[in-house]
């Protein structure tokens, strides 16, 4: 009955919480490299099913914050707590792959895909964190391992449909236009079925049309599937249009937080951006 199948068949949201509940709490973290401070006592909260934008001038500590959450950096002080599966994960004590398995997915400012693999294989690699079959049974490709592989393959088709990339399914990522690579990277993060999705400048270097497409995909993922999104973005128009809340960083400190309208009226923010 193919007619019933149009639309989404698989949920993309990996969170076990209700919308509005606290998904992630950053408590007073500080991070420095040698003597150079990157983050100084930053606290914030991310709620289930919201889009939170982190903005700030260059060097404000935005990417450092995302890297601390995904486990690439380890803050010297403070802690980051992530709630999922009825548990509290202290992310500051976990390794990046454990953080990913807990339900945190991310994309990078500079695309980090497997360039010589196809779009499909890149997406499948994102689903890998959920595969239960061991090395031996996967090698035999029989029974549960085969069934699991087929189910994930089918799930990936939902993402291909969502991101409108069926025409490039079997293309090598390295040969694709930049805007499409960004899309594939988003797809790979979604293939992890995350509880929270961290996007580092998803629209950097795109033209207006590509930006609009990307904004639409981000909104679809959030509105249709309820996936929680934390994004860093420089294009203020995009931030104001799509985010529910905004956190502003400057010199490693949080200087403001609120709805896009509140933040854009905030004198401290205006000063940070105009640089007086």
């Amino acid at each position: 009955m193919p007619l019933q199948l149009r639309g989404f068949r698989y949920p993309l949201n990996g969170s076990t919480l209700e919308p509005g509940q606290t998904q992630l709490r950053v408590e007073n973290i500080s991070l420095s490299f040698g003597g150079v401070g990157a983050l100084a006592g930053v606290s914030l909260e991310v709620r289930q099913s919201e889009i939170l934008a982190i903005i700030g001038p260059n060097g404000a500590g935005k990417t450092s914050l995302l890297n601390s959450i995904s486990g690439l950096y380890r803050p010297q002080r403070g802690r980051i707590v992530f709630y999922n599966h009825g548990r509290e994960y202290e992310l500051t004590k976990l390794k990046p792959h454990q953080i990913a398995a807990a339900g945190v997915a991310r994309s990078f400012q500079n695309i980090e895909l497997f360039r010589h693999m196809t779009v499909l294989d890149n997406l499948m690699s994102g689903a890998h964190v959920h595969m239960r079959a061991g090395l031996f049974s996967s090698l035999l490709y029989w029974g549960p391992a085969q069934r699991e592989q087929i189910e994930f393959r089918d799930f990936i088709e939902d993402i291909i449909d969502l991101l409108e990339i069926p025409a490039i399914r079997y293309k090598k990522v390295g040969a694709l236009a930049y805007g499409l690579q960004k899309r594939v990277e988003l797809g790979r993060a979604l293939a992890m079925r995350p509880a929270i999705l961290l996007l580092d400048e998803p629209m950097a270097g795109m033209n207006t049309e590509e930006k609009e497409d990307m904004a639409r995909f981000i909104l679809d993922v959030n509105e249709e599937h309820g996936v929680t999104i934390v994004l860093i973005e420089h294009d203020m128009g995009v931030v104001m249009d799509i985010s529910d809340r905004v956190v502003v960083l400057n010199f490693g400190r949080k200087i403001a937080e609120g709805t896009p309208a509140e933040v854009s009226q905030n004198p401290a923010v205006i000063e940070a951006y105009l640089g007086h």
């Binding site: 193919p2 007619l3 639309g7 989404f8 088709e157 291909i160 025409a167 679809d220």
Partner: protein, 646 residues
């Protein structure tokens, strides 16, 4: 079945009884070809029809359908017809004003819209149509979850309504289908509208089915044959193949996954029959030419060796001569080394035959496909005669003609005007809501006035010159078709569109649209930097490139018809700016009006001309471009010959 089916829904019932478990359609969805059997299709149509009935669809109503080619499109159409109603297809890339115009004029009470993109258009025009339209039914729910408009309904909800109704009223649907008569209206079909806004041709079941029967009498197809439906279902050509011939023969209809995957999907299916307008065939030629340019030297050598052999073979067959043994051996080698691989890449390997229609196809493109061994045939017809009236017979192909009339079809040339007149059971009833236009189109004896100028050759083949209004009389008195010159130009992979002017002017000139992708690639290979389309089109090197092709086209033209001046337009002609029809035909008069200054400049003394145009974006907003265009003259060579001709 005792009685032959009279209507399309009756044909559907016939197929569902005869071969319930046979595949009727396939759609590539989530990367997999998912089949729908005749029984399933019948049930979907039944339930959707009953759902519409519950929602108060009346026989005098119309169901408007807008979207890409999907099973739901056809289901909605057949469901409307089952209830004694009719459908009207709207081109999916139409802007809001166009959609609204057709919804209003067709008096549609339901709109079946594919997805968010189409639903957004309807929501925008809702205040103007809300008194007339009951429900808007969508079938791709992506992005529509949070829409709260109470007139929106999801396709499966309507199916569910129908399923419930069926339980309480078994046999109701069958009785409705039984009541259908051959002379009931089946569809309103929009005409292409090269000269005015599209009209709505009323076509009955008899019209569509007689056309299918007569075409299949000439070119039979089997239920096992495959067909890929990828051109807009609002177009009569697609209605004719996918719906009318599809139900009449029962061949399998395949719907591609997305517009961008069409080429790949055609290749996977390997259809036995294709019908496409010239644009598709021209694109294929450009694609092959560009790929050959980029390939290894060895492959290029093979291609350059094989093509003349292919052309020689095609020309021999056109002349209906026996090819010599030498040619046959060479062609055999060329076929297996070059032609079959190219056809395989294009998905044309299993074709029994392919048609082109909707506009004239240049002879060069025609010869190209015959050289490859593709049995490409011209079709001539128009919306008003259910799409087709004349077709080439296998083995009797002349590329300057469109062939012979199909059975039950008469053709006559009006002695005074030279207009092509046609009469057949496929001629429409008239234009919906426009009796005056109907009277102009169909005379008392039932002849359809096509508006095309043409003549019959010694073998009875029809030759179409052009739209009667466009035919130009040259300085020396001969009649000439601007379209013929345009097609010559468009054979170049670097020329996407051309508009030729002559007739009332002293000599022939042209506007040319470069092919952005191909010229862009050409420029990159030669390290010519450029920014936008406008910038690229005005590069002197690009002018020189296009000039070569204009000179080449001129060689085959009578001196008085040669292009003396041309310019490269700063923007692509676009259907959203109403410069092309939705089937991508040039609206010559509108273009001449809009670019009056450019035409004046082509016939004046300047070397350059300043332009300022307003362009309309997808969302309806507008912007202005200001730039300067160069005028290229070819007078040195054309002048002496033109004088000698005069």
């Amino acid at each position: 079945m005792a009685q032959e089916p009279q209507t399309l829904p009756q044909y559907l019932r016939f197929r569902a009884r005869q071969a319930p478990d046979r595949v009727a359609m396939r759609e590539r969805i989530y990367g997999i070809w998912s089949p729908i059997t005749w029984r399933e299709l019948y049930d979907y149509v039944k339930h959707f029809a009953l759902g519409l009935h519950v929602l108060r669809l009346k026989p005098e109503d119309t169901v408007a359908i807008i979207g890409d080619n999907r099973p739901e499109w056809v289901i909605a159409e057949l469901a409307a017809q089952s209830m004694g109603s009719k459908s009207v297809g709207i081109y999916q890339d139409s802007v809001v004003a166009e959609v609204q115009d057709i919804v209003t004029r067709s008096k549609a009470s339901f709109i079946v819209a594919e997805d968010q993109e189409q639903v957004d258009k309807i929501i925008e025009m809702w205040p103007q149509i809300q008194g007339q339209v009951h429900k808007v039914i969508y079938y791709d729910p992506k992005g529509l979850r949070n829409y709260t408009e109470d007139y929106l309904m999801y396709f499966p909800e309507v199916l569910e309504l129908g399923r419930k109704f069926e339980e309480e009223n078994p046999g109701f649907y069958e009785a409705q289908v039984e009541r259908g008569r051959a002379d009931d209206l089946a569809i309103l079909s929009t005409t292409s509208g090269t000269t005015a806004r599209p009209k709505l041709a009323m076509l009955t079941h008899r019209n569509l089915l007689s056309m299918a029967k007569n075409l299949m009498a000439v070119d039979p197809l089997e239920p096992d044959d495959e067909y890929v439906s990828f051109l807009p279902l609002a177009w009569i050509g697609e209605q004719m193949m996918c719906v009318a011939a599809g139900l009449y023969v029962g061949f399998k209809i395949n719907f591609p996954e997305a517009p961008e995957t069409v080429q790949h999907d055609i290749r996977e299916i390997g259809p036995q029959v294709m019908f496409s307008p010239p644009r598709i065939w021209e694109n294929m030629v450009s694609q092959v030419q560009v790929k050959i340019e980029d390939t290894t030297r060895l492959k290029r050598w093979f291609y350059n060796w094989a093509m003349p052999i292919g052309y020689a073979m095609a020309d021999t067959r056109f002349r209906k001569e026996e090819p010599s043994l030498g040619l046959r051996i060479k062609y055999f080698l060329a076929r297996w080394t070059v032609f079959e691989p190219i056809k395989d890449q294009l998905g044309l390997r299993h074709l029994k035959r392919a048609y082109t229609g909707g506009a004239a196809l240049g002879p060069d493109v025609f010869r190209f496909f015959h050289a490859l061994g593709v049995n490409l045939k011209q079709i001539y017809g128009q919306t008003e005669i259910s799409g087709i009236a004349v077709v080439h017979r296998d083995g009797d192909i002349k590329f300057q003609t469109v062939g012979l009339p199909i059975p039950e079809t008469e053709i006559r040339i009006d002695e005074e005007t030279g207009e092509i007149l046609m009469r057949s059971p496929a001629v429409m009833v008239g234009y919906f809501g426009d009796e005056e236009a109907t009277r102009k189109a169909i005379d008392e004896e039932g002849w359809l006035h096509s508006g095309d100028a043409g003549y019959l050759d010694e073998d009875g083949h029809l030759i179409v010159i052009d739209r009667a209004k466009d035919v130009m009389t040259l300085a020396d008195g001969t009649k000439f078709s601007p379209q013929f010159i345009e097609n010559k130009l468009k054979f170049s992979p670097y020329i996407k569109e051309a508009v030729v002017f002559g007739g009332q002017w002293p000599y022939v000139t042209a506007f040319i649209n470069i092919d952005f992708a191909n010229v862009g690639k050409w420029a990159e290979n030669r390290l010519i930097p450029y920014t936008t389309y406008t910038d690229l089109a005005q590069k002197p090197q690009v002018y020189a490139l296009i000039r070569e092709y204009v000179v080449k086209a001129n060689q085959d033209l009578p001196p008085a018809a040669r292009i003396r001046r041309f310019l490269l337009l700063h923007k692509e002609l676009d259907a959203d700016d109403a410069e092309l029809t939705r089937t991508r035909k040039v609206r010559r008069r509108l273009i001449a009006q809009r670019y009056q200054e450019l035409i004046d400049a082509l016939y004046g003394d300047q070397d350059t001309v300043d332009v300022e145009t307003t362009i309309t974006y997808q969302d309806g907003s507008t912007a202005t471009i200001r730039t300067q265009l160069r005028i290229e003259r070819l007078e040195e060579e054309a002048e002496p010959t033109a004088q000698s001709a005069a």
